[in-house]
Amino acid sequence: MKPALTTPVLLTLAVALFSLSAQAAELKVTVVNDKGEPVKDAVAYVAKAPQGVGKGKPPKRVIDQIDKEFVDTVTVVQVGSAVTFPNHDDIRHHVYSFSPAKQFELPLYLGTPAEPVVFDQPGVVTLGCNIHDWMSAYVLVVDTPFYALTDEQGSTVIKDLPVGDYEIEVWDKQLRGPASRTRTSLTVAEGGENHLDFTIKQKKLWRPHRAPTMDNMGY
């Protein structure tokens, strides 16, 4: 699904590049935890960009429910994105969020709800299903089109960054403390190669197990 996800981003980037400047560069990011292990599904994103960079109408997004799981478990959207939650299962789901960045509730539904959910504030939104306790997913709402998710090796690349001074942050669902603590300055020069290595502290993430029985409800 990644290509499907990155296509709109690249399109946006292309528009931006053509409208502002022809000079752009890549930023390679690696994220490891304090034990030196690579962190997958960490998000590297631009927290502060030069004036006028990365503005534009955010694209529409989709978070599927397949086989009683959210797909993907980590989704990054730009502020103002409208997200639809298509249900591919033959049973109903009840998607909700009590997160301060976006509180919503899609009461029991089949198929795709008519109205998408618009994420209009940056922040972390935790998704749950009131029917299935183990279903959980994160939506990171950022105010930039420049972001990327790390792969198995904890590596990712933010492409087509226009030349200028940036501040880069990393967020992970297990990150201990606020993401602002990871904020790092970066000056992008023309034709230069840009590298940033992040080491983050992780906390244990407590999550209910799938298909719980009556006995292992947590104690």
Binding site: Y96, F98, Q103, T126, L127, G128, C129, N130, D133, W134, M135, S136, K204, L205, W206, R207, P208, M217, G218, Y219
Partner: protein
């Protein structure tokens, strides 16, 4: 015996009762030990199970609480309320939860361990520390429980997350393990439950006074084993200890005395039973012993009778056991003895008792032995005269009276009547039993027989009978004593020349006009008496001349005039032997004039004859008797 058992019966009783007592004591002790041990083990087992039950109950109570809390925590509306953090709504939701799951406390704690709201507030510092510790554990494990003493109460707390779907907050619920709860559980644990931290009693199903006693008793001990006993309130308690939490102990206690109550009842019954058994035993043994001792006593009496010489009595026991056999044997023995006694008695009448004894003692065999015996012959001199004019029956009566008298005298002095020959009596001194003074006794008997005859004659005269006079001859010599006769019929007697001589001497008494004549051997064997020398004689069938004497009595019994007379007589006798016929004749004449005596007259006759025709040169004063 040391204890002085009086009888077989008492001893038997004591032995059996002693044995019974020992046996019963052994049983009693064994049962006592077994019961005590058993009861203690049983209580310990009960308490061990009770302890498990108690902890199960507490766990299940906690689980119930956690379940209730979990249900509430997963309620969508509750999650919404938590998300909104509406304090008042939260408060009422917790109160609702508390009443629903019967919790004593419900608290909501945020992800930073800070209390959001609670149904009960403790000291802020204390609760903050406890909540942080509890939630920290819950973050690791998904949920957590903790046991804490807060304000002296034991709290069991459980924390579960409020998930949306990641933890929004932690819901903590708890209950107090207080006296009421323990009293409620006590019904199921077969023992009183107490929670202690060290010696501090936290809660208990006991009333207050027992709480104090338990805390005091438990405070002083240092025992590692889970089960032990404690002395409190003057009773023994079996205690089972288990860990309630890291620093709190659960004590389950049960009174040993109370548990032993049924056993004490049993003990009483046992004691009663034992007493009853003992009484039955005593009665049974007494009866049994009496059953044995009564015939034994009868037997003892019977045998005692026998030993006293009473052989006619019989033991009256008719039983078929050993005692019966013994009684039969005793009776047979008595019969045997009776018959023997009869024989002895009869024998004693036929022969003298001494000879009878000798015969019974030694199997009578023909043959004898030589021994020195003094033989006494007596004879009623005028028996024929006596018989004249008397009826034959009367004669026998007179004779028996006389013989009884003289036999009495003989036996009185240890003489043995050898035989009666008509009116004559032959008696032995020195056979079958020899004594040192046989001759003396023989002479004494002769003298006493004279006196007896004197007394007898007084009676005879009074009854109109003629008086009797007897002659006695005594000789002491070595003769043969033993059983004589045939194999089938024999007599114990003595034979020999000495016997004949005694008989001859008796025959001479009439000639010399004296009553008793003893031989020279008898005289020398019985020298204590005063004698009158009668003569020197040569009896028929004898070549040897012997001197014969008349015993006059003991010297002190002889009067002075008699002594003079004896002296004069012996002087006259000496003259006679020296052939001084004239002088001897004068002296004998004088003696005879003074007190006439046949003896003097005999000598006067002889002197007259010798003066007419003197004897030969070889005459030695010996008188020869050719007749018997």
């Amino acid at each position: 015996m040391i204890l002085g058992f009086r009888s077989f019966q008492t001893r038997l009783l004591l032995i059996f009762i002693g044995l019974l007592g020992l046996m019963q004591l052994a049983i009693f002790t064994a049962v006592d030990i077994a019961s005590l041990e058993n009861t203690r083990r049983q209580i310990t087992d009960e308490l061990t199970v009770g302890s498990q039950v108690f902890h199960q109950l507490v766990d299940s109570r906690l689980k119930q609480l956690a379940d209730g809390a979990s249900v509430l925590a997963s309620d969508f509306a509750f999650k919404q309320v938590v998300a909104t953090q509406d304090s008042k709504t939260l408060q009422s939701a917790l109160a609702n939860l508390s009443s629903r799951v019967n919790a004593d406390i419900a608290t909501l704690v945020d992800l930073d361990y800070q209390k959001l709201t609670s149904t009960y507030d403790f000291d802020p510092k204390v609760e903050a520390q406890i909540y942080e510790e509890l939630v920290y554990q819950a973050e690791e494990q998904g949920s957590a429980t903790i046991t804490r003493v807060i304000d002296g109460d034991v709290y069991h707390l459980v924390a579960v997350p409020v998930l949306a779907p990641y933890p929004l907050a932690w819901l903590i619920t708890g209950f107090v393990v207080d006296d009421g709860l323990l009293q409620q559980y006590r019904e199921l644990t077969s023992g009183d439950i107490s929670l202690l931290r060290g010696a501090q009693l936290l809660s208990s199903s006991y009333p207050d006074n027992m709480k104090t006693a338990l805390a005091a008793a438990y405070g002083g001990i240092n025992i590692k084993a889970p089960a032990f006993t404690l002395e409190m309130a003057e009773q023994t308690y079996v205690v089972h200890r288990s860990a309630f939490s890291a620093d709190i102990q659960t004590l389950l206690t049960q009174s040993l005395e109370e548990a032993l109550a049924p056993y004490y009842q049993l003990q009483n019954r046992l004691f009663l039973l034992f007493t009853l058994t003992a009484v039955i035993f005593i009665v049974a043994i007494t009866l049994a012993a009496r059953n044995v001792t009564r015939p034994v006593k009868t037997l003892v009496a019977g045998v005692k009778n026998l030993s006293e010489g009473n052989y006619t009595e019989r033991v009256g026991i008719t039983r078929k056991d050993e005692l019966g056999e013994l009684a039969v044997a005793v009776n047979q023995m008595a019969q045997g003895l009776e018959e023997k006694d009869k024989i002895r008695d009869l024998l004693g009448k036929v022969v003298s008792p001494e000879i009878a004894e000798e015969l019974i003692k030694n199997r009578p065999e023909l043959g004898g032995e030589e021994r020195e015996v003094s033989i006494l012959f007596s004879d009623v001199r005028n028996f024929t005269t006596l018989c004249e004019g008397e009826a034959p029956g009367d004669i026998l009566n007179l004779l028996n009276t006389y013989l009884s008298q003289v036999s009495g005298v003989i036996e009185q002095h240890g003489g043995v009547v050898d035989k009666y020959i008509g009116d004559a009596v032959m008696a032995l001194f020195g056979a079958p039993i020899r004594k040192a003074d046989d001759a003396r006794r023989a002479v004494t008997v002769a003298l006493e027989m004279m006196q007896a005859v004197g007394r007898l004659n007084k009676d005879f005269t009074r009854q109109g009978h003629a008086p009797i006079s007897i002659g006695i001859g005594i000789n002491t010599d070595t003769v043969v004593a033993g059983n004589m006769g045939s194999q089938t019929r024999m007599n114990y007697t003595v034979i020999g020349d000495g016997v004949n001589l005694a008989s001859r001497l008796e025959g001479l008494t009439k000639y010399y006009g004296v009553q008793v004549i003893v031989s020279e051997t008898t005289r020398s064997n019985a020298p204590t008496f005063t004698y009158r020398e009668l003569d020197r004689v040569q009896v028929k069938g004898k070549t040897q001349a012997i001197t014969i004497y008349e015993p006059m009595g003991l010297p002190e019994q002889i009067s002075a005039s008699m002594q003079q007379q004896l002296s004069d007589y012996h002087e006259a006798l000496a003259c006679y032997r020296q052939r001084q016929w004239q002088q001897a004749g004068q002296q004998f004449q004088r003696l005879n004039d003074q007190s006439p005596h046949a003896l003097y007259q005999r000598y006067l006759q002889r002197i007259e004859a010798f003066q007419a025709q003197p004897p030969g040169e070889d005459w030695k004063g010996v008188m020869q008797f050719d007749s018997k």
